[in-house]
């Protein structure tokens, strides 16, 4: 079988102009900003020991912050700044995507530029500096005609390092809403689409190497005073930037932006909604792989137009509620709270993606367990596994209280492995997700929760404030509301977890539409 015959390669290629264009744009802007800040700072600090130490120290500390965390931190920071700016000066700005990514990456680029510029300038022979003074140069003339040209090779090495770092780290800007080559990687990891992961890594590496080599050409041109080489390198960079910007520029500006979180179900649903919009003659693009906290803020700020969230998540995370209420009360109250932020709750899709206690069907039948009430007397002799946060969430406290549950042992596990562990009998019960396709695959059963200890997690479509009165959008999404039942979603998720051509979010979304559309 030919590896490259896989249709996912061509699908990946289709995304390339968009992802690459955005990646180049954010990297180049960040690098330019980083240089504009670092170079003057390095020049100012070269003869000031205290400032030099402070700068290099700060830059080193920034470097130790993991890239993903640095990017994530800029989002709430800018969100707060935007709010302040709106209330003080009457204008806000988007704290989503481009701006936080540029700022964080620029900060990331500073260390190699600062360090190499300072080192390069300090490495200029004292006798040469004396000569510059002796022939009658001002300090400024000495800097520009002697010191900087002599330090240039070392400085360029720093700039090249910074460029490679920025291009690599920019793949992490996907979760804060900046489209980049990281979209391949994040989507690929979540949907086990290794073609996408590989494609994302390769294209980022090729981009980094290309830019590095073009900068090397400029450097050698400057070093050997070859104008041709320097201009070739410069032209190469300019062409790269231009080539990647053109498709982005010509794209329609009026398209709807669909948000998606970082797991497979979200990719499938966003693909499904995009297909519905296109079918209705609307253009749609998606911002995928967004963090749970980022996505809601982005919707409230009109940075994305709509997405699917879950009632329980909004209840507990966005509105900080720890009380467990019946489904209808939660929905009603959410609607009111969302309306206060001008967000429209368009409607439920028809399935829930909730936490649930899950065990193998055969074992449950043997023991006559159908609900958590039936499970409670057996729990003392059983072990249980859940994801990393479950045991510290209000749902678990509620469950223990409502049913008097107490297990022999509790384990934390990577969600992907929990279901297999339950199926193999390694653990007896797991806290699974109700819409997960693996429940069906491993022949597991979801235990009923008659006391309603776990809040409802209805999947629901939320619209951004500026789309509240958009009739065309409502009409396009209407056919999905209430149509996706738990069985359909589970099967879709199971398909998306596969590792072949039919498991791409787009393909699964088409399958899902066929299934619910014919009902």
């Amino acid at each position: 079988m030919n590896l490259f015959a896989d249709p996912r390669w061509s699908e990946a290629l289709g995304h390339l102009p968009d992802y690459l264009g955005n990646h180049v744009r954010v990297s180049v802007t960040a690098l330019a900003l980083g240089l504009a800040v670092s170079l003057p700072l390095a020049i100012a600090a070269r003869n000031r020991r205290a400032l030099r130490g402070a700068l290099l120290g700060l830059a080193s500390i920034v470097q130790t912050v993991p890239g993903l965390a640095l990017l994530a931190l800029f989002y709430p920071l800018l969100l707060a700044l935007a709010a302040v700016s709106l209330s003080w000066f009457g204008f806000g700005f988007s704290a989503f995507g481009f701006l936080p990514a540029v700022l964080a990456l620029a900060l990331y680029s500073m260390l190699p530029v600062l360090r190499n510029t300072i080192t390069g300038l300090q490495g200029v022979d004292a006798a040469i500096l004396e000569a510059a003074q002796g022939v009658g140069m001002t300090p400024r003339q000495s800097l520009f005609t002697v010191e900087l040209p002599l330090a240039l090779p070392v400085m360029m090495a720093g700039i090249r390092t910074a460029a490679v770092w920025v291009i690599g780290t920019a793949t992490l800007s996907t979760p804060i809403g900046q489209t980049s080559l990281g979209n391949y990687i994040f989507a690929g990891l979540q949907t086990q689409n290794w073609v996408f992961v590989l494609f994302g890594c390769l294209s980022a590496a090729v981009l980094a190497l290309t830019v590095d080599q073009l900068l090397a050409l400029i450097e050698s041109g400057l070093r050997h005073r070859s104008r041709v080489r320097a201009m070739l390198g410069g032209a190469g960079i300019a062409m790269l930037v231009a080539a990647t910007l053109v498709p982005t520029m010509t794209r329609s500006q009026t398209s709807y932006v669909i948000g998606a979180k970082t797991f497979a179900e979200q990719y499938v649903l966003s693909a499904l909604m995009a297909q519905r919009l296109r079918a209705a003659g609307l253009s749609a693009s998606s911002r995928e792989g967004l963090g749970s906290n980022v996505i809601f803020g982005a919707l409230a700020a009109n940075d994305i137009d709509f997405y699917v969230d879950y009632s329980g998540t909004l209840w507990a995370n966005q509105f900080q509620r720890s009380d467990i209420r019946p489904r209808q009360e939660v929905l009603d109250e959410l609607k009111t709270m969302l309306a206060k932020q001008n967000i429209t709750l368009l409607g439920e899709l028809g399935f829930e993606n909730a936490y649930a206690l899950v065990m193998p069907r055969k074992r449950a039948e043997q023991l006559g367990i159908r609900s958590i009430t039936d499970l409670a007397p057996h729990a003392a002799g059983m072990s249980m596994a859940a994801d990393y946060e479950f045991f510290s969430r209000p749902e678990w406290a509620g469950l223990k209280k409502a049913y008097g549950l107490s297990f022999r042992a509790q384990r934390q596990m990577q969600p992907d492995f929990m279901y297999a562990a339950a199926a193999s009998g390694e653990v007896d019960v797991i806290a699974g997700y109700t819409s997960d396709g693996l429940i069906a695959k491993y022949d597991l059963v979801v235990l009923a929760d008659p006391r309603h200890a776990i809040p409802p997690y209805d999947a629901m479509v939320l619209l951004a404030p500026r789309r509240a009165g958009d009739a065309a959008l409502r009409a396009a999404l209407q056919p999905l509301l209430g149509k996706i039942d738990i069985a359909a979603m589970r099967e879709a998720n199971l398909r998306a977890a596969g590792n072949d051509a039919t498991s791409s979010p787009d393909a699964v979304a088409r399958w899902l539409w066929e299934k619910i559309g014919t009902k």
Binding site: A127, I128, A131, V135, G136, M137, V146, L150
Partner: protein, 266 residues
Amino acid sequence: MPASSLISYAHVGKTFDGGRGANRVVAVDDVSLDVAEGEFLAIVGGSGSGKTTLLRLANRLIDADEGHVTVEGEDVRNVDPIGLRRRIGYVFQSGGLFPHLSVAGNIGITPKLLGWPADEIAARVDELVDLVRLDRAQHRDRLPHELSGGQRQRVGVARALAAKPRIVLMDEPFGALDPLTRDALGDDYRELHRRLGLTTVMITHDMTEAILLADRIAIMRGGRLLAQGTPAELSDSSDAYVGELLRTPRRQAERLGALLPRDGAA
């Protein structure tokens, strides 16, 4: 101060703060010295004698703590140091050429800083390349590292002369060269000095070189000016150190005279 003196030091002192806790160093201690127009003065002394500091006080690479330094009749403290340096030629110890600039770029640097038109600079560079006996076609566009030590120092001299200064300061200009090159370059410079009517102050630790090139010699030791005068005047000095300095060239000359046949037929 005599009316004809172009550079004049009057009770000049300079102390260097050795930095964190180090001892203060008195580099120049109450020195008074006049350099007449057209004169070739050599300042001779060992390392740490203060001779380089004394030279640099003249173009304000270093500022004096005490006393007055006068150049062309003006106290240098009242003169803009940048302008002062542009009108005084300075030849550095090992050339001090800018490694990223060609020979022409190095020679033309001060005229360029002074804002001369490009064609005038080019003409001046050609003139100077000839003057210091380099080859236009061969050397003009070379980078310094492609030249020999002697050629580099010729470029250094040409650079110092580029903006047509009346005064040239030289910091051990020929110290690092082999004896033949050194001799040729010294003679060539002496000739330029005469022909262009320059006033030259040259630092050297080599008394023989000083005697052969200079009109007058000033001897420094421990920051103080020990003696000054023509070689003949100095040989009458009663100072022990001066005597010691003069003994070496004299003895060398006698031995050379004895060893080498007069007619040079060897």
